[in-house]
């Protein structure tokens, strides 16, 4: 009884804050997406906003762009994170400085990175100037369009730059907990370094970095600032579209903005639940 009580005392304050803000916010958003807006005298519930949204011509291109940007950014970030973590776990000269540099992106705000990437890869950016200097291009317009482009390349670059450290540090922690024993054993049994990585280390790392990767994917899928600064206005990523509708002077657009946000949330939620389902089943079958 006493332990139950102390458990509640420990957990309740944090849970109340999260519940009120999160569940409260989500349910209000949901009810507005269903057209319940007492301020303008709308008390009914309907799926009208969802139908309007799905039928609107701008929705599908935005969805495709959002999916492709977040999948690409996450995949590149995970690959680079694993490769760099494998390198950084060894001892070498200057490890402290390089570790510091490696962690740096974790702390630098997305907005700053977005500005920096823009000044780096735009057609008048530093890379274009360097390309001109070495004679690769003779005019700034010959430099490929990487900002405000169709594929969201600058957006992807920002996310990759930011998230490699996040997943990489998790991978390092996982590698540390694995230790060298498995690998040494594989090597002593004749596996070369690629084989011991592919068949021994990788299967051990992946479950550890999967949750972090899903967090990154969810973040890139739904975050707003970077695509707002570096993205084309059409098609815009879903979050930007949703925000534009939300601040629209026309209050009729609001339920649609809410509906889009709810759909994004629902998609991510299903993804995570699916992941949990599958990983728990795998855990059970391996136990």
């Amino acid at each position: 009884m006493k332990t139950g009580l102390s458990l509640i005392i420990l957990l309740a304050p944090a849970l109340i804050v999260i519940l009120v803000l999160f569940a409260g916010g989500l349910s209000l958003g949901l009810s507005q997406s269903l057209g319940y807006m007492p301020i303008i005298g709308a008390y009914g519930f309907s799926l009208q906003a969802y139908f309007q949204l799905l039928a609107s011509p701008g929705f599908l291109p935005s969805l495709l762009l959002t999916v492709s940007v977040s999948i690409t950014a996450t995949a590149i970030a995970v690959t680079l994170a694993v490769a760099t973590a494998l390198t950084l776990r060894k001892r070498f000269v200057g490890k402290r400085i390089i570790s510091f540099l490696y962690q740096l992106p974790l702390t630098i705000p997305h907005l700053v990175v977005a500005v920096g990437i823009m000044m780096l890869v735009s057609q008048s950016g530093l890379l274009a100037r360097a390309a001109f200097r070495v004679g690769l291009i003779s005019d700034s317009s010959q430099f490929p369009v990487l900002v405000f482009d169709d594929l969201g390349i600058a957006i992807i670059l920002v996310y990759v730059w930011k998230e490699v450290a996040f997943i990489g540090l998790i991978a390092l922690a996982v590698l540390q907990s694995i230790g060298n024993d498995y690998e040494a054993q594989a090597r002593s049994l004749g596996a070369n370094s690629w084989q011991s990585f592919r068949h021994v280390l990788l299967p051990l790392i992946v479950p550890g970095i999967l949750p972090g990767s899903i967090i990154v994917f969810a973040y890139t899928f739904s975050s707003f600032e970077v695509p707002f600064l570096l993205g084309k206005s059409f098609p815009a990523m879903l979050s930007v579209l949703s925000y534009r509708m939300y601040i629209d002077v026309d209050l009729d657009a609001r339920p649609q903005a809410m509906a889009m946000s709810i759909l994004i949330a629902l998609f991510i939620l299903i993804l995570v639940l699916l992941y949990r389902r599958i990983s728990q089943r795998l855990l059970r079958s391996s136990a």
């Binding site: 999160f22 920096g116 922690a173 949750p211 899903i214 969810a218 600032e225």
Partner: protein
């Protein structure tokens, strides 16, 4: 035999080259987007195709330092909000992390999922609802309201980090302190706190930085009245004055770099602070 040894040596050499290439790529990759920021912030005229600015002037910096630019005001607001959020997250998150790290109880999976939900479920969906809620509660346009809503994306990180720390924590030290006659407060200050402090610092770092870099939550809840650094930066970035934008970026990233200087070793150390992210 000889050829085999030579093959082995060349493979080892190859691995060393690869190792070095990756290290150089890390250094270069990290620094690349920061370089143009530094150059732009001191540039006076810098036209294509000049690789470095033709004229160096501190115009952007003196503009930022002048009271006219409101940067100081924004800096104070940002520090105030992030400070409040960090303290609140520690007060709420350390106990919750302790419960999750040390205890097994029925419904734990649900509690964990609930705590993680705000960082999994995209912010916009929730924040638009919170906006409506805060309008009713009169919390919009206030610093307090902004700080409160910043807890939403940051508190889960604190709890996750602390639950990872407490999962590797040995409670028996506390019981020994009790049995030696130490009170609750003394046990906490002298036994618990030193053991979990590295993790707490890491968690606080996350919380501070999440609040520090928050834009959309601040704009929606602050309604344009609570001007923090990112809000100001966004305005400048959209307006297109590269020199001032770059200088502001450096002001904006400086505290983050400072904090990291002090906490870097906790992140990759054995404190288990990053291990909390191994579960979802």
């Amino acid at each position: 035999m000889n050829g085999n040894r030579r093959g082995l040596r060349s493979r080892k050499c190859c691995a060393r080259v690869l190792h070095r290439v990756v290290l150089i790529a890390i250094v270069g990759g990290v620094l690349l987007p920061i370089v143009p920021l530094l150059l732009w912030s001191v540039s006076h005229s810098w036209f294509f195709p000049q690789v470095v600015p033709s004229e160096i002037k501190l115009r952007a910096w003196s503009y930022i330092g002048s009271p006219f630019s409101k940067v100081l005001n924004a800096l104070v607001n940002s520090l105030l909000v992030a400070g409040m959020v960090t303290v609140a997250a520690a007060l709420l998150g350390v106990p919750a992390g302790r419960a999750l790290g040390l205890r097994r109880f029925r419904g734990k999976a649900i509690v964990e999922f609930l705590i993680l939900a705000p960082i999994i479920v995209p912010g916009l969906a929730v924040i638009m609802g919170v906006h409506v809620l805060f309008i009713r509660l009169g919390l919009v346009d206030t610093i307090f309201g902004v700080a409160l809503v910043h807890l939403l994306p940051s508190l889960p990180y604190m709890i996750m980090v602390m639950s990872g720390v407490f999962a590797n924590y040995n409670v028996e030290f506390e019981q020994q302190a009790y049995s030696l006659g130490a009170g609750r407060v003394r046990t906490f200050v002298q036994v618990t706190l030193p053991a979990v402090l590295p993790g707490m610092v890491t968690g606080a770092l996350f919380v501070f930085l999440i609040s520090w870099s928050q834009y959309i939550l601040t704009v929606l809840i602050g309604g344009g009245r609570v001007i923090t650094l990112p809000v100001l930066l966004f305005a400048f970035a959209s307006a297109g004055d590269n020199a001032v934008t770059a200088a502001l970026c450096i002001v904006f990233l400086a505290p983050a770099v400072l904090i990291l200087l002090f906490t870097s070793r906790y992140l990759s150390g054995e404190s288990g602070a990053m291990g909390g992210f191994g579960r979802l």
